[in-house]
């Protein structure tokens, strides 16, 4: 069920026959073929242990393929010494910001990546300013210790520190886990902004199908290390049987529409609003 998206945009990451085996022998990924294009919003979904995090970490060279290859802008991640080039192309935001904030001021934190890739003083400063601004991290906070920020702000600093390396693709691991509704909307709207207005490709790993329905343009579904579905979100959610095999449950409203299909509801309802529209059409037509 692999289906590459029709897309005139440039291919940023190419994954071919990717296998990944952990040192203890577990096959985490089996024969993954995938193309990530410029300016897409992709959700990587599947149960824990399905290999989605392993795949995400392979997409920026944190994990090297056991066989097959991952090419980022033509660069093979297995080639030694490519780390510094790769991080300027694909950024990875970890789930818990506490794991990735190493510095004692926010300014140093955001500057860490740009310095690592060997940029000059002025360039580093410029990037810190830009990234902080995009992420809504105020200048007044620059000398603060990340420890004392709220979780939402720590997450934004973490994203800013990745953005400062100006990667085209940004992978965010479970951006909404443990967050409430407002915090989730805030981070997701911010990511959508990066996608819509700044031209980034965003890849999120998430378990929240409502978030997927509301934000992702494309879904990649993994089960037991295999890529089982890849396509537009609407199409993916309209195939509940295959999703069930991947233990993925579409949003409640999508399931509701699918449970009353005999009344001619569409299979791919993604929001309550769409459901209302569909209902009004059906109720009116039948009258």
């Amino acid at each position: 069920m692999t289906r590459s998206m029709k897309n005139a945009n440039e291919c940023l990451i190419e994954v071919s026959k990717l296998q990944y085996q952990y040192p203890d022998g577990t096959h985490a990924l089996r024969d993954i073929n995938l193309k990530i294009f410029e300016n897409q919003f992709i959700a990587l979904i599947g149960q824990n242990g399905s290999g989605k995090t392993t795949l995400a970490k392979s997409l920026n060279g944190l994990l090297k393929p056991s066989s097959g290859y991952v090419k980022i802008d033509g660069l093979d991640t297995r080639v030694k010494g490519t780390t510094k080039k790769i991080v300027t192309k694909v950024g990875y935001v970890f789930q818990n910001p506490d794991h990735q904030l190493f510095s004692n001021t926010i300014e140093k934190e955001i500057a860490y990546g740009p310095k690592n890739i060997g940029l000059g003083h002025d360039e580093v400063n410029q990037r810190v300013q830009d990234a902080a601004q995009v992420c809504g991290v105020e200048r007044g906070l620059f000398q603060d210790h990340p420890f004392f920020l709220t979780k939402g702000l720590r997450q934004r600093v973490a994203i800013a520190s990745i953005l400062a390396m100006r990667p085209k693709t940004i992978i965010v691991d479970e951006p909404t886990t443990g967050q409430d509704l407002r915090q989730s909307l805030e981070v997701m709207n911010f990511l959508r902004d990066l996608w819509l207005h700044k031209g980034h490709t965003i890849i999120i790993i998430t378990h929240d199908m409502n978030i997927v329905a509301d934000y992702a343009q494309r879904c990649v579904v993994l089960t037991k290390g295999e890529l089982v579905m890849d396509g537009a979100t609407r199409e993916i959610f309209s195939q509940p049987d295959i999703l069930a095999k991947a233990y993925v449950k579409p949003p409640q409203i999508t399931r509701l529409a699918q449970d009353v299909l005999e009344y001619n509801f569409p299979k791919d309802v993604l929001s309550v609003e769409e459901m209302i529209q569909a209902f009004k059409k059906i109720a009116r037509k039948e009258h």
Binding site: T83, V87, H99, Q100, L101, F102, Y247
Partner: protein, 316 residues
């Protein structure tokens, strides 16, 4: 009732519990390896096994004779294979033992020092001295015996075994508890460390290209996230302990001792008594003979005397 309805309702989306994650029960993970659940080792009480750590891990310290230490080493391997520990797992220590050997011998050959009674001999164009060389040989085997005496314990026991052993000795609860919390913290610490390193690489850090000084700086950097995580967790663990009625003294509010269910699950047999007594007596005897009467000291080693005689005889 609504809840009952739900319980009965086996809707298509209710998932099976994670049966796929059940791991085979046959092997049991220890601190450094795996041991079959039905290993004969488990006939021994954890305290007996703990005493082997003291016995095999410390005894070589009092013995200079390499031939005895090599015998201890052989005994350790026999014990491990009787326990059905996968011996091939010990291969990972091979590089370590070789590195230590190279390091120690290189130093003793390169910087032997000098004393008037040193017996020199040429070897492949190098001037070697017997005494420092033999001293290194003896120290090396002593070290290796101690190392494997320790490794054997951690390959065959889990944290839980150690705790049971300590509690059997009626060590105050707070001490054994502190020990178990540190073990637990160490596990989380290692996991955090792994993620932090990954996060650094995700920000363009190439560890292979670092100088030694940079690496030192890098380790200093880890401290910030590690402390942050530790502080955030301290709160929770304190609350979790209080929430389940934990007191530092290990005493109940009516003054009685807290009960120890886990401990009562391990029978302490006659065999355990005999073994522990045997090991402790041997240990004490060795220490007395060594410290008080100079047994097994370097100078009295028959191997050394023999080799020295050969060397001196050959030289004349």
């Amino acid at each position: 009732m609504m809840a009952a309805q739900i319980a009965e309702n086996t809707h298509q989306w209710r998932y099976r519990l994670d049966t796929s994650l059940r791991v085979s029960q046959r092997m049991r993970r220890t601190l450094l390896g795996t041991v079959p659940v039905h290993s004969p080792l488990y006939k021994l009480h954890p305290l007996t096994r703990f005493v082997t750590l003291l016995f095999l891990g410390v005894l070589p310290m009092f013995i200079d004779w390499p031939e005895i230490n090599i015998m201890i080493l052989v005994a350790i391997f026999i014990y491990l294979s009787w326990s059905r520990v996968d011996l091939s797992g010990l291969k990972i220590y091979l590089p370590l033992t070789i590195t230590v050997a190279i390091f120690m011998f290189a130093i003793s050959i390169g910087f032997p020092g000098y004393k008037p009674d040193y017996v020199g001999f040429p070897f492949m164009g190098l001037q070697l001295f017997f005494q420092p060389l033999f001293f290194t040989l003896a120290s090396y085997w002593r070290l290796i015996a101690m190392l494997f005496g320790t490794i054997q314990y951690f390959s065959t026991n889990r944290e839980r075994d150690t705790l049971v052993a300590i509690r059997t000795l009626h060590v105050p609860f707070v001490i054994s508890y502190f020990f178990s919390l540190s073990l637990r913290a160490a596990g989380m610490f290692m996991e955090d460390m792994r993620i932090i390193r990954e996060a650094e690489r995700a920000r363009g850090l190439d560890e292979t290209a670092l100088t030694l000084a940079d690496r030192a700086k890098l380790y200093a950097m880890y401290l910030i996230p590690l402390f942050t995580l530790a502080i955030r967790r301290t709160d929770e663990i304190t609350n979790a302990l209080v929430a389940r009625g934990y007191t530092l003294s290990g005493k109940l509010e009516n003054g009685n001792q807290r009960s120890d269910y886990i401990l009562s699950k391990y029978p302490f047999r006659l065999l355990d008594r005999a073994l522990i007594l045997g090991m402790l007596c041997t240990f004490v005897l060795v220490v007395i003979l060594r410290v008080g009467f100079g047994y097994w000291s370097m100078d009295t080693d028959p191997l050394r005397i023999y080799l020295l005689a050969m060397l001196l005889g050959g030289g004349q």
